[in-house]
Point group: C2
Chain length 441, copies 2
């Protein structure tokens, strides 16, 4: 009973809002009872000839000596697991350790109580976890509301891939975060129509994390709107932990959204890419707002595992095993703190320099930033962002990213603090030249 | 000019059959001129603040010491590249080395001439390369013809994910490979209707590679059928190099299909998973049948890179870097030869034992196998494959995989040669018990 029909029936029974929010692909998807399923049943048998992995007959891979030698810092058992297929849902130890890693203390939540959540499923990087939420819940006819300015790849992940309509919701009118803009935009849909929304905190490209008051308003507005329809809220916590201002909450909004309304379905997307500075590993995680033994989780996990297998086979075991070495270390948070301190200093210097340039030259306006790895400047009208970007490349030896027609993004994660003043100076000069107006030098 | 419309126009001009064969998603897909595109333009700038990677400001990752320590067998430059993002299309050195790795000598081809092919794009394992071919060319209304019996995941990759119709083409009538069955099945489509087909040689689950004569007939029949329509042929060469019988060709059919007809579009899918016994790494490759500087390749690569970014962000750099260590070694083919010799001996013993059991007990019929990592037995009528599989699990301590209602698959890649006689004995006994008929013990 693991066909798509059975899973859909299970969801309709146990979580009607989830069933209503499924995309056409989400409805079709299931985890077929074929090879990985049969292999799981055969685990531990003396004569196990189920899986196409080249081993010695006792579960030890016949690896090439050259590859083994590269990984000799792993012990034998770990190296073997690193070289064999990962389970489709990820290595069990990694899933459990990441669950502990990402779950906040109940006391840190406004409610003081921790909602249920599944053991995270491992994905091939954070983008893959997002793509899976798109597969299951986005699709033709679905609107996906995203606070703007946003990461351009969201348009590809949710719009191009699935055929859903991405709705950009301007959330920084007058350069201040408007926590009610998202729910207001969703409210334009007819009552009863399911919606999807993205929350990326800390945000790319703005580098902004809302204050406690803003979070409260945002959460309340979403619950209010969820009285009228199912809303799937993807919490993209790619930059979790990278918050540099005292008093700004650092726990994921997922924990404030989960378990409180059948109609509000938060999905938590996290990863080691930024949190553990492991960009090349591609280890992401997808967490559902029900316990792992709940029938809703089991039905959705069946669909997600089917989609993982059909999309990438299984996530990389090698990266998972390297990440495990870090998560097993008691003092790994201290290693991370060293990196966060560097980022915090860069953020401080960049903010000071940008705000000074804005004050003294009026060359641009700085959007508020207090976290993440980026800052965003809004250009004066009449200056096209991409024109300025190309000017900076050609004449100022400076590489920035243009976002839409009005914004330039500065990635302070790849910039020394010492280089910031000169970069800002060149940016100001570029604005003056391209704008052709009297920007004070 | 990298919008989907521009890419589609380019394909319509340069390769009308390719344009006609695109899926709806294939038509929508493109590589947007946003962050990775802008970051590529900013490479080498003194003040490069384009990409969200946490570095020291000079391109060196601020990695956690624990993760660095695990990878200390890599030199500094390699380790840095292993921990940073891979380019979306994969590391340049790996792409070039894999191109040399997989390209046969012209003399080994029937034509004696090597057709053009692109530098391979790196994917997250071989299944991801297949999924990309599905994204670009499969979709609602498209039929995908696959020689049966076949790997069950094809149904998920091509059917469930995209909405295409998977057509199973029985290719072993009377337990002999019929090289004309595939083209015959495609011919049932109206003239002019694009088709998609899969060739998995050596095959999962049959372990079969066609003879020279069979290949000749297969290739000729596909070209004949391609006179009536565009045909996209995915060559899934997952088990390349694992051929154990003298006289059986080992070069990919891709090289015999490429460059000879505008209507026949072969796509080559390869990977290090089996070829370099690197299951946990997830490094696959997708190769197109035009040179890298051709406008067709550039348009299709744009679409494929957009889909990779939207699906997984980028492929794992760590796995690519470990694989590179192997490809850089002059004698790596000798390390592989050791594994192939082990597999060849297992194949020989298993074939002898299964054929003897068939002869002496008539318990089942063995499909021909000479390659890959699997063998397939066809059960007598009246015995359901999955019932027998479960009986073997419960009563014989034996794990096999059931394929459809009539086949059991034996993975000799995960079975010692010494264990084969006992496994076959238990299989024969199981058939006798489940069949309830007089199978001679």
């Amino acid at each position: 009973m693991s066909t798509a029909e059975a899973l859909n029936a299970q969801l309709e029974r146990e979580a009607p809002a989830v069933a209503a929010a499924l995309s056409p692909l989400g409805r079709r998807a299931f985890y077929p009872p074929d090879i990985p399923f049969q292999a799981a049943q055969a685990r531990g048998k003396t004569y196990n000839a189920t899986i196409g992995q080249i081993t010695d007959g006792n579960g030890r891979i016949l690896a090439l000596p050259t590859i083994t030698a590269v990984l000799d810092r792993l012990n034998d058992a770990d190296r073997n697991r690193a070289l064999l297929y990962s389970p489709i849902e990820g290595l069990a130890e990694l899933r459990e350790r990441w669950q502990r890693w990402q779950t906040p203390a109940a006391e840190s939540l406004p409610s003081g109580a921790l909602p249920a959540a599944s053991v995270p499923i491992v994905t091939c990087g954070l983008a893959h976890a997002l793509a899976l939420t798109a597969d299951v819940f986005a699709g033709p006819g679905r609107k996906v509301f995203i606070p703007a300015p946003f990461w351009g790849n969201y348009r590809q992940i949710y719009g191009i891939r699935t055929g859903a309509e991405v709705v950009a919701v301007p959330c920084f009118p007058e350069r201040r975060f408007d926590p009610l803009a998202l729910a207001r935009a969703i409210a334009s849909l007819p009552s009863g129509t399911p919606a999807m929304a993205l929350l990326n905190i800390p945000a790319n490209p703005t580098g902004y994390s809302p204050t406690t008051a803003e979070r409260g308003a945002l959460v309340a507005s979403l619950f209010e709107e969820a009285e009228r329809r199912p809303i799937v809220v993807v919490c993209d916590d790619a930059y979790a932990g990278l918050v540099y201002e005292d008093g700004i909450p650092t726990t994921s909004l997922f924990w404030e959204l989960a378990g409180r309304s059948g109609n509000l379905i938060p999905l938590l997307v996290t990863g080691s890419t930024k949190e553990l500075v492991f960009f090349g590993g591609r280890v992401g995680f997808l967490t559902l707002p029900w316990a792992s033994d709940s029938p809703v989780t089991s039905a959705l996990e069946g669909k997600i595992k089917g989609l993982i297998r059909a999309g990438i086979g299984s996530p990389p075991a090698l990266s998972q095993m390297v990440l495990l070495q870090a998560l097993r270390k008691d003092d790994i948070r201290e290693e991370i703190a060293v990196v966060v301190a560097v980022m915090k200093e860069r953020c401080r210097v960049l903010r000071a320099e940008l705000e000074r340039a804005e004050r003294e030259h009026g060359a641009f306006r700085v959007l508020p930033f207090n976290s993440g790895v980026f800052a965003l400047v809004e250009l004066p009208e009449g200056i096209d962002a991409d024109t300025l970007r190309r000017h900076l490349l050609e004449h100022e030896d400076v590489g920035l990213v243009s976002i839409g027609e009005r914004y330039l993004r500065v990635a302070f994660c790849s910039l020394e603090a010492e280089a910031v003043p000169e970069l800002v100076k060149r940016l100001v000069r570029g604005v003056g030249v391209v704008g052709g107006v009297g920007v004070a030098q």
